[in-house]
């Protein structure tokens, strides 16, 4: 009986919260500044034709720069707690699963490249492309075709940092000509594609690393 009344109380509180939330959303004041018009007005100078990519990599480029820095830091924190033990050989999955993964991974790589390229003019971009690549790596690991990673060697370290370093180099190079990450309109498209390519590789390695560095068979 006491339990029933408790459930009723929680349910009533949850319903009241939903009602307040819905009310607050319906009463929401219009935004103080409408940024849609300026975004659309300067789209021609941004080097891309998709407004989301223009905001992420041109107007608010430093946000994206800091995002990749945060992801890199998260991976460094994981590397600090990963022990030095060599990765154990991964389990071998069922041959059908392996064959399916072998079929799926090339397709996923094609999809990632397409997403990267399409980011300039339609939904897509470096983050989605990197996530698809990372998912391909995780898939290979789960079916036993890709062993877990131990301490990264030089090549992997360069790959992990490349996106951030490339982004930073472009930012530093543009600093001499004006303010931070203010691309000249003529070169903006090429610069954004360059940065996004670097970001895709690094993001794929970082996201896959979050999985593969921690994925160990040795249990305590």
């Amino acid at each position: 009986m006491k339990r029933m009344s408790l459930v009723a109380l929680v349910l009533a509180l949850a319903l009241a919260f939903v009602a307040v939330l819905a009310g607050a959303m319906l009463e929401l004041a219009p935004a103080a500044i409408d940024l849609r018009l300026p975004v659309a007005a300067h789209l021609a100078d941004s080097g891309v034709t998709h407004p989301v990519t223009a905001v992420l990599l041109n107007y608010r480029g430093y946000d994206t720069l800091l995002e990749i820095a945060v992801l890199l830091l998260a991976l460094l924190a994981i590397l600090a707690v990963v022990d030095d033990a060599p990765a154990s050989p991964s389990r071998v999955a069922h041959p059908v699963l392996q064959a399916l993964a072998r079929l799926a991974v090339p397709l996923m790589i094609v999809v990632a490249v397409y997403l990267l390229w399409a980011g300039a003019f339609r939904p897509g971009g470096a983050f989605q492309a990197g996530a698809v690549l990372a998912a391909a790596a995780v898939l290979l690991h789960l079916v036993g075709l890709l062993p877990g990673w131990s301490r990264p060697r030089l090549g992997l370290r360069i790959g992990l940092a490349a996106g951030f370093v490339l982004f930073l180099a472009v930012a530093a190079g543009l600093l001499t000509q004006g303010s931070l990450l203010q691309y000249p309109p003529a070169a903006a498209g090429v610069l954004i594609l360059l940065i996004e390519s670097g970001l895709t590789v690094s993001l794929a390695l970082i996201l896959a690393g979050l999985f593969l560095f921690l994925s160990r068979e040795d249990e305590a």
Partner: protein
């Protein structure tokens, strides 16, 4: 037609969220969480935000689901060892 689809989507979102939290078995909860993520990315696409939908499908449903399944596998093997 679109309204019926949206209604169905919203209801299945709520249902899968509830089942994810309420189901007693961990493996089923993870699978339901992946289903919830995929439905969520559909909802983002319906809200005219395909960019977020793509990110949700790749990161929310794909990578997080794989991480959770892997963690579940390790937990189960540990329980068998004991």
């Amino acid at each position: 037609m679109t309204f019926a689809f949206d209604l169905l989507l919203a209801l299945s979102l709520l249902w899968s969220a509830w089942r994810t939290l309420a189901t007693p078995r961990l493996d089923r909860a993870i699978v339901l969480f992946i289903v919830f993520g995929l439905l969520m990315s559909l909802a983002w696409a319906r809200l005219a935000a395909p960019d977020i939908g793509l990110a949700e499908a790749a990161i929310g449903a794909g990578l997080t689901g794989a991480l959770l399944l892997d963690a579940y596998g390790v937990l189960r093997r540990r329980r068998v060892d004991r």
